[in-house]
Symmetry: C2
Amino acid sequence: MFRNFKLVPRVIFGRGCFAQLDEILSHQRSEKDDWAVFVTDDVFTGTPLAARIPLHDNDMLLYVNVDDEPKTGYVDQLTRQVKDARPTLPCAVVGIGGGSTMDLAKAVSLMLTNPGSSTQYQGWDLIKHRAVYHAAVPTLSGTGAEVSRTTVLTGPEKKLGLNSDHTVFDQVVLDPELTAGVPKDQHFYTGMDCYIHCIESLAGTYLNEFSKAYGEKSLDLCRQVFLEDHPDSADKLMMASFFGGMSIAYSQVGACHALSYGLSYLLGIHHGVGCCIAFDALEEYYPEGVTEFRHMMDKTGVNIPRQVVKGLDDTQMDTMINVALGLAPLWENCLGKDWQALMTRDKIRSLFLKM
Amino acid sequence: MFRNFKLVPRVIFGRGCFAQLDEILSHQRSEKDDWAVFVTDDVFTGTPLAARIPLHDNDMLLYVNVDDEPKTGYVDQLTRQVKDARPTLPCAVVGIGGGSTMDLAKAVSLMLTNPGSSTQYQGWDLIKHRAVYHAAVPTLSGTGAEVSRTTVLTGPEKKLGLNSDHTVFDQVVLDPELTAGVPKDQHFYTGMDCYIHCIESLAGTYLNEFSKAYGEKSLDLCRQVFLEDHPDSADKLMMASFFGGMSIAYSQVGACHALSYGLSYLLGIHHGVGCCIAFDALEEYYPEGVTEFRHMMDKTGVNIPRQVVKGLDDTQMDTMINVALGLAPLWENCLGKDWQALMTRDKIRSLFLKM
């Protein structure tokens, strides 16, 4: 059985295309009372970008804080806020920001039409009702959240996404101009999220030609961005992110993402940073990729956090190991069907101790 | 203004995935009387593939002949046949075949819901009503018809597609096993349709990074298929075709396609063959591409038709020149805004005389 992959059905790409957002949303505004919610990263408060959001009278500009990675409790609170604001559901939810903001927009659009708490839907295909129309405007490139069928949430019990076809955005607005001004470190960490996930999927056992074609081109674009100098590197990284996300159709990430989930869950380390910390310890599994990653790190001049597990007690270490080991498909993709014989608790502990 | 590109919303890729077609269509069969039409290339009559088409009692297996390229009159006739067969419209139209068959399936699905003759809709965005759900099962790789927003038809007055967002398929089933057994010449001509259109779009003035990323990877895959030897070259060419079609989002074909339309219109030469004949005469415009194309031709051992314009009278030559010159966007993409000063009637004539 092959997955019948749900693609984002509408994509607009181009420098300045954010100016077309109002026209794009106009097709959703059929009734006089129709209103839209703009789920926007609060770093944009008071910026020129915020002033360009095409707000109509009845619309809601909902600033969100993503200093921490998205949590189910936060999603439930935002959903309540949107539901309480007007007597009708919004006709559109638009996420403007990086991966966390886009994930919050996806999650809110789903929870507006699916009853209960978002914790009930952490898993695969548990969402039963179509979401409110939702669109993404990435302001950071690399996460692939703009094309993925998940929204990664940390709940009281687990870090696990709402994975479903309904999660996929209805529209993506790819305007490379919006990624100008991203701090150097964040640019690197988010770009490496894309680079690492391509290395993992291309080295994996799940791959087919669909995912390979997308993954290889994404990697090629990452190399152009992080090892060469191009005036249009923002355009290239935006496409690398899009292709990286598409490559996931028939592939899977691997050891690095599994370990990084442990770091994020216990230490609250942001996804891109956690991926870099974990990847740097995985030379044994991805020798060429790790060497190239270190070249990119040198060229960019970013210093990743070191000794992050120092001082953790046994219980904390066990928690991280449990989270990492729980991600069976990632390990199977990396090591094959017999991964459990190869990736023991002791082996995982020794990898964490290198970070 | 950038185009808000409509993508095929569902894609399944994998060797053997044709076996999932029945399950995929089951989501369209909500009422007891719902029925599907399988628009199938008549070369498959009596073949094992025909026996595998998941026909339900009420369904219609509609064999089509594509010895000639699709004509508006043929589309109108097929549409009438489908309308007359049952009191309700079908719930799905599935095209099984190469570019011409897929184009016929698209055109029929559109004409079932849009009144009048298909000649009325030759052009851009003239289609007003949503088509019947339509899916593609390509059995030939290279045309890009599986992802394009057009269906190319020859009418009494012109060769011009029904270009619209409604034209785009709702589902594509990419099973590389289905392309086994394609005759060597046809494999080459259809593959070159993809190769040439990537060369034209990458050399064009319309390009942006979205189309460039898709076009470059498509070209890379074409090279692997036609210059190297890979056991999975059918998979690669299927992805090259898909990527080539996607690259058209923000690009355009060029001189070769314009000239080939003249050959097809007057001489009835099939699209892929016409592209090869025209491209071989375009060293002046695409020097590296034409050199590489000739290597591919040598390696494959295909001999393209020569001296095809020999014996044409002035009226016939004028008709071909008119058809080619009518495709303004293709010339503008190739030569820039001032293309009319560069591409005179005499120049076009001299190019045709080389074919």
